[in-house]
Amino acid sequence: MTSAKVLRYELQDLRRSRWMLGYALLLLLLTDALLRFGGGGPRAVLSLMNVVLVFVPLVSVVFGTMYLYGARDFIELLLAQPVGRGSLFAGLYAGLAAPLSLTFLLGVGSPFLWNAPADTPVGAPLMMLLAAGVLLTLVFTALAFLASLVFEDRAKGLGAAILAWLAATVLYDALIVLVATVSSDYPLELPLLGLTLLNPVDLGRVLLLLQFDTAALMGYTGAVFERFFGSVLGIAVASGALALWCAAPLALARRRFGRKDF
């Protein structure tokens, strides 16, 4: 009950946030442009994939962290009310993750409504794209909570958030390439598979690539994943790992929130 009330106030607050409006508009324009000029539905979805994999985590983790530091005083006021910390935390997380996810769904999904390409169906890839985007939003919102609870200092927390994003999007790829080149004489499939499971953005990529049946063409990890698991099992494993990626930081943040001295 408390969670629902906190969730509702946060929705009210974020609904009027200019940042959320900007996020929605940017996604809308990007998707619309890609659909109009990107040459056909499936190819547009493929280009969108990179937007989703890079941009959505960035916005979720940075906006989430900033929002939480900004709301710090109000959270303290809420903690001084007769509410338990657990339900307050649940409400706060849902109140941040839900509007970010909805904004993403609207921004990326709606241009497909009026730009629906007649010749090629985009249904399943689009659904997977939206699902991956929502999952990444949930994961990186959880990381934003963790960052803002671990670091008292706003600048440090924001730094940690950006570092997490950078690690997941850029540094991790570099690491995988490095591992692959340095040890190209050895059988690498299993270690690479393991490494992929450790990075939420890679997991999102694998999900999408498996869906597009272009896994073999699109990089090492995708190919390994498909060969090892096959499409269906691969998707299940990748989604499961992403869910874990959401649950683990969230559980840590929840624990921290419960014990923290504000």
Binding site: T2, K5, V6, R8, Y9, E10, Q12, D13, L14, R15, R16, S17, G70, A71, D73, F74, E76, L77, L78, L79, A80, Q81, P82, V83, G84, R85, R259, D261, F262
Partner: protein, 258 residues
């Protein structure tokens, strides 16, 4: 009640002041942040139906004590009860508390009305209400504007009005008059006195010692994480032979550092 009042002095063992039930009672309360020992065994009692001023220099432990009282931080040791209920027993005791933080920073896109509704929702339906301050502060016209567009003073008025909103039996006011103009500040002080007369207990901090001469009944003076003095304002005056609180506090601090 007055005989109980006199029995409270810094020398009293905390166990002897069990009756009547205190609005706030702390025994051997300790709290450290890292290596910093902020509270080192605080024994104090906030008597019901009185205005108690929690005073002390910077870093004496005032805010930390308020945080423990409000459940924002957990004590390391000792006990802390609000109207007889241990703070550690769960969040329900905060039903009785109306809290006014030093500076209100409400979510910027919400209106005053929405903030008020949220706070009311969180308490459930059957709470008594008191919207007097919304009227005397003339907040009606400001309630539908986003909080971010309100002036600092108006926000502070809203902050004060929400603390009194549920007729709490314990008011915790952190620098209540800071940021208010003299008129609003007068209104608030009057409200504090009236709420006290209706039976509520008030615990407040303030840097404006001169205004406490008329407002406070009791004084708790923290110094270096312990209670240096607690008792009625009159007793403080007698003990220090200073008629004004400001001088009396200065005298207390001198006594400590010869």
């Amino acid at each position: 009640m007055n005989s109980a009042v006199r029995s409270i002095s810094p020398g009293d063992a905390p166990g002897t002041l069990a009756l009547p039930r205190m609005a706030v009672a702390a025994e051997g309360l300790t709290k450290r942040f890292g290596r910093l020992e902020v509270l080192r065994g605080v024994d104090l009692a906030v008597r019901p139906g009185r205005v108690t001023a929690l005073l002390g220099p910077n870093a004496a432990g005032k805010s930390t004590f308020l945080k423990l009282l409000l459940g924002l931080a957990r004590p390391d040791g000792g006990s802390l009860t609000v109207c007889g209920t241990p703070v550690a027993a769960g969040p329900e005791y905060r039903m009785r508390i109306g809290y006014m933080p030093q500076q209100a920073r409400f979510p910027e896109n919400l209106t005053g009305r929405e903030v008020v509704r949220l706070l009311r929702d969180l308490r459930g339906d059957e709470v008594p209400e008191d919207d007097e301050l919304f009227g005397t502060f003339d907040l009606a016209r400001e309630m539908d504007k986003p909080v971010r567009t309100l002036s600092g003073g108006t926000r502070q008025k809203l902050n004060a009005a929400t603390a009194f909103m549920f007729r709490p039996s314990l008011l915790v006011l952190d620098e209540p008059t800071a940021g208010l103009d003299p008129i609003a500040s007068g209104v608030l002080k009057e409200k504090i006195a009236r709420t006290r007369d209706e039976g509520a207990s008030v615990l407040l901090t303030s840097h404006v010692l001169s205004e406490l001469d008329e407002l406070a009944d009791d004084v708790i003076f923290l110094l270096d994480g312990t209670v240096e003095f607690q008792g009625s304002l009159r007793r403080l005056r007698e003990a220090t032979a200073e008629p004004r609180l400001e001088r009396a506090i200065a005298r207390l601090m001198q006594r400590r550092r010869p």
